[in-house]
Structure formats: structure tokens, C-alpha cells
Symmetry: C2
Subunit: 143 residues, 2 copies
DNA sequence: TTATATAACAATAATGATTATCACTATGAA
DNA sequence: TTCATAGTGATAATCATTATTGTTATATAA
């Protein structure tokens, strides 16, 4: 009756797209998924990647992490954990759930503001270790 | 010497664009700012809005709240507070800082992961009061 | 006030990510 | 195998945003 019951046929490409996202720690964009699968599926089309990502998201197999530099990034780990985004290279990494606000905060927001909260997203922004976040030398003159 | 020292001339439009964002609780998009100012500045161009928003952001007068349905939304309140986004109507509202994770969490992320954290963003998603978030009737059949 | 340098402007073209269309193909059930 | 239709590649269209360009407004000095 509802949209969920649309019959889905099995698709090799959809499996591969889901795996590319779920088996990666990179939080790839649609374009990145496309590039990673193109060698294995030479006829793969970018539209197919977008279409299947959209289906996988509806089905709850993957979720979006938000956009980095205008490109949406995806995650196959559905747990409610924060992310770190490097503003230099665009890398997205998982952060332990330990750094999430307590779960009850969402309930408190709901009751205080009279809204229904279905999910939340916490993102830390900065500069990753590779790009020079920590190794104390060479002050970043390039801003 | 650096990019900050580019000479800026005074501009009525830039003032109006900054005010449109800072005096609003709507977290408007560039398009929304354009629409709100068009009556007062009939010759206003959308490109001008984008260009000035970009300048205001560089200068630290406003900040981005992230994209909602592909449209970037802006905030004149620079304090580190969470937001709530209604997934039905796209409304963005401020949430009290009380619901932010403690500030030390950012430092802990930095030291644990070897990164530099410059800012963070916490967003709660769901359905706002107007769209039916709370008033317990009429189960949302339209999902 | 006029003159001059240039930041800001409107109009518009270009870009880049994403979505829609369509003729054809592959999947799954009979 | 046959059939209905979900899935696909190619490509066009859309939408937000950015860049370009010739003109206008602002700041400063004469």
C-alpha cells in the first residue's frame, strides 16, 4: 500500500553501490562511489549511482552525513555518532559515540520546543592530522 | 598584506543583506534574502546577494547553518548553539546552548584524534510544531 | 564642485551537483 | 520461454552557486 512496498528487483549494481559505501570508512560521495566501481562495471552510469543511493537511503541501508564542499557524503554505519570534517582536504571521519550529547537531550529538545525529533547530526570541523592539524611545526601561512 | 586588508567600500546593499540575516530568526537562504530585499531595492541582483553573503561570511559577520534541501542557510547569531530543522517545511530554529555538548568535548576530540577543531555544528532534525510535530492527532499518513 | 581610481553593481553566462527522461536490458515470476 | 516491469546508460534538464563583463556608485583628492 505504501511507498515501501514497491517491488525491488535484485541488482548487481545496487549491491556493489551499497557495499562501496558500507565497506568504506571514507564516507564517499556519489562521484567517489562511481569512480570506485567504474573499473568493475565499465558501463556504469553516474545517474545509476545517484538513483541507487537514493533508494538505499529510503530503505535505511545508508544515510547521509551532509554535504562537504557542495558534495553530499554517505555513511553505511547507521549508528548515531558524530563526524569530523577536514576543511582542507574534505576528509570525513567517524568520531566515537562518546562525544555525542546524551540521548536524553533530544527528548528534552522535543518537549521544550514542541517538536518531534527523529535524528540529529553532530559535526566537528577543523584540520585533520594529515593536513597539519597537530604536528606543531610549520605554522600554516596559507591560512 | 593578507586577504583581509582588501579595501571595502561602503555599500547600502551589503548593509541591508547583513541586516536581513542578522535581524531575522528565519535563518534565510540567499534566495530568501533576495526576495525580502527586492521590494526595497528593485534593481537588486541575486548575484549581489551571493557575493555579499560570501564577504560577510569571510568577515565573520554571519555564518552558515548548513544546507536544507540543497539551499544554504545563514545565521547572524555567531554563538555556538544547536539548530532544529523541520524536514517537512524546511524551517530552521535556534536551540538553546544548553543542548550543546560541553565545550571540552571538542578539545577531547582534538586530542584523541590528533586533529585541530575550529568549530562544530549540532543539528536536530524532525517535524516542527506547525507541521504537526506535537499535536497528537491525525497520524501522518503521508509519512 | 570636478576628477580619478576602484569597489560594487546588474545582467547574464558558466559551472557543478543532482534529477528526470527515455529507449533498451535484465530480473523474477508464471 | 514468455511476459511484465524494475533497472540501466546516455543524455537532457534543473537548480543553487560562481564567474565574467561592462556600467555605476563610493571614497578621496584637487
Amino acid at each position: 500500500m505504501n511507498a515501501r512496498s514497491i517491488k525491488r528487483k535484485h541488482s548487481r549494481r545496487r549491491d556493489a553501490i551499497a557495499a562501496a559505501i558500507c565497506d568504506s570508512r571514507e564516507h564517499p560521495s556519489a562521484e567517489a562511489v562511481y569512480r570506485s566501481l567504474k573499473p568493475r562495471f565499465p558501463s556504469l552510469s553516474l545517474g545509476t549511482v545517484y538513483r541507487n543511493i537514493s533508494m538505499l537511503r529510503e530503505e535505511g541501508v545508508i544515510k547521509s552525513v551532509g554535504a562537504v564542499s557542495g558534495e553530499e557524503r554517505f555513511d553505511g554505519d547507521l549508528s548515531d555518532h558524530p563526524h569530523f570534517v577536514c576543511e582542507r582536504c574534505g576528509a570525513v571521519m567517524d568520531i566515537s559515540e562518546d562525544f555525542s550529547p546524551r540521548l536524553s537531550a533530544a527528548e528534552e529538545v522535543a518537549s521544550r520546543y514542541g517538536v518531534a525529533v527523529t535524528r540529529r547530526a553532530l559535526v566537528y570541523y577543523g584540520v585533520c592530522a594529515v593536513c597539519g592539524g597537530i604536528s606543531g611545526d610549520a605554522a600554516p601561512g596559507g591560512g
